[in-house]
Symmetry: C2
Subunit: 325 residues, 2 copies
């Protein structure tokens, strides 16, 4: 199938990944609506869609606002649900706010979807964080979910609601568990949404990357183009009621930092002790198997890490000021 002529909604569509999804859908000829609360600090920014702002319809609002979301889901063939709070640190500081933005917002969206006909297909951006600490690697979808931070708990609950509404209330849904996503447009203002954006900023600034601990923990990084590809493929498929990991070849955080410095030809690395509040919610090594989604719809990560990081660095070298307060 193609998205040409389709009417679609992207929640969180002014954020890093959401805006990339919206842009790809607009380029594919879809009629794109975007809902974003522009919550300060959460990542939404109108400048993320500056280049396509005349081709998408933007609503500033909260997914939990029933009147707004009911109107926005009507007549849509697909909903890409990316609105949410993504910082594990912020979630621990204010878990009730995180519950509202992740779990309650998902319920509100799904309630709106079940009350419209025909029901849109929903693709939900979940997170590898739902697994918690890995009992085995790579993480597959049968691995127990034992999240060790509030954000992981709330995303897991949101996932289960998508599956519940799929099974019980006939809202076709697919949940993708995203791993660390990087690329042009990612948030670099602060370090609370993951390490990779912060590392990129540091090398762009020819500054010092601070690696917590010894940096031996493994991570897998997906370029945003690959994540967008996964979301569009999942939306276009017939699959429903499923949970699929994204993932990539693992690399240590230390090696990622070294690769960034090498590509940039500048920057230094410093190892610092884990702050206590980070250590308690750190999951150690974590990377995921993408075998299930590959078999189901043929997705695999395509952007080589070196190329992806190099173009990301070039982007921020040219446009860093745009992303700073």
């Amino acid at each position: 199938m193609t998205f040409a002529g389709r009417s679609v909604l992207v929640t969180g569509g002014l954020g890093f990944i959401g805006s990339a999804v919206a842009r790809a859908l607009a380029a594919a000829g879809a009629d794109v609506a975007v809902l974003d609360a522009l919550t300060p600090g959460d990542g939404g920014d109108r400048r993320n869609v500056e280049d396509v702002k005349d081709r998408i319809a933007i609503t500033i609002g909260d997914v939990r606002d029933d009147a707004v979301v009911r109107e926005l889901v009507r007549g849509r063939s697909h909903v890409f649900h990316l609105a949410g709070q993504v910082s594990h640190v912020d979630a621990m500081e204010d878990p009730r706010a995180d519950l509202g933005k992740n779990t309650e917002a998902s319920i509100a969206l799904l309630e709106a979807c079940r009350r419209t006909t025909p029901r849109p297909r929903v693709v939900f951006a979940s997170t590898r964080q739902v697994y918690g600490r890995a009992r085995r690697l790579p993480l597959d979808e049968e691995h127990p979910c034992e999240p060790v931070d509030a954000n992981g708990i709330h995303k897991w609950a949101a996932e289960r609601h998508h599956l519940l509404y799929d099974q019980v209330l006939d809202v076709p849904s697919v949940c993708l568990r995203l791993t660390n996503t990087y690329g042009p447009g990612q948030l670099v203002r602060h370090a609370r949404q993951g390490f990779i954006g912060w590392f990129v900023r540091k090398v762009v600034e020819r500054s010092t990357i601070e690696v917590m601990g010894d940096g031996a923990q493994l991570r897998d990084l997906n370029h945003v183009d690959d994540v967008v590809d996964a979301m569009l493929r999942a939306a276009a498929s017939d699959a429903r009621g499923v949970v699929w990991n994204l993932g990539a070849e693992p690399m240590s955080i230390r090696a990622i930092a070294e690769l960034l410095v090498e590509i940039r030809g500048a920057g230094t690395i410093r190892f610092v002790p884990f702050p206590e509040e980070r250590l308690r919610i750190d999951v150690g090594s974590a990377h995921a198997s993408w075998e299930r989604i590959r078999r189901a719809i043929g997705w695999e990560p395509r952007v080589p890490l070196r190329d992806g990081l190099a173009s990301t660095i070039r982007h921020y070298d040219a446009h860093l000021a745009r992303y700073l307060p």
Copy 2:
């Protein structure tokens, strides 16, 4: 240890199980505070503590009210957290309300606990419903959690928060997954909080028990005295950061209905088709292994089912009017 002279809080303490916990603690010489929102339909009722009302301090309020709960947890050695919404049917009708009463309320309570010193030990009343449909029986604590209704999702998230606050924020917590609890004081006004109270009412009224489907699904029933025993033992133990099933020998729903009719010497049984909305969230056969809690703290169910049901029937035969609107 003993609870004599201890200062304890019971949330949901005017409900069926909560009031039994409060009564047992008062009998053990504890200084008992009770918090209950008396939400219409949820089960809280002042008459549940009529016999001990002069020995417990009752606050009518919501666990989510920070000012109230912070004041109430101060100086407590133990918090028994039983407040919540327990109807799966109601949870599906209004999942956002259920999220608030179960997950958000637990976060609010735990936040209050972490902000007081010394921190109380928390015993949380979770539910077997977190497992969803059984992949194997009996359900043990390693069985995957795949809840098939909103209430199960929200109780699971509440459990995880108890474990999180235990591990990360040093609020010692134990989660008990309760199965079907029965006994004097259980809600018999409507059928939305499980089948057993409704069945008891029907035989007390010498009326007809309607069994959905063929009644072959297995269930395990714990008498409320056994549940109270488990909660007090868990509170008195040194265990923390753990999840334990309660459970009992399984019996089919049909056999339970037949046993009730036999004990009462009256009543009839009729088999009716599952209503569609119930069938979709029904978990089939479900009963749990209590081996883990038995090994840890020596708990096991002690009230024989026949004796427990007989005394429950006698109770409602004498006092049914008190429990009806």
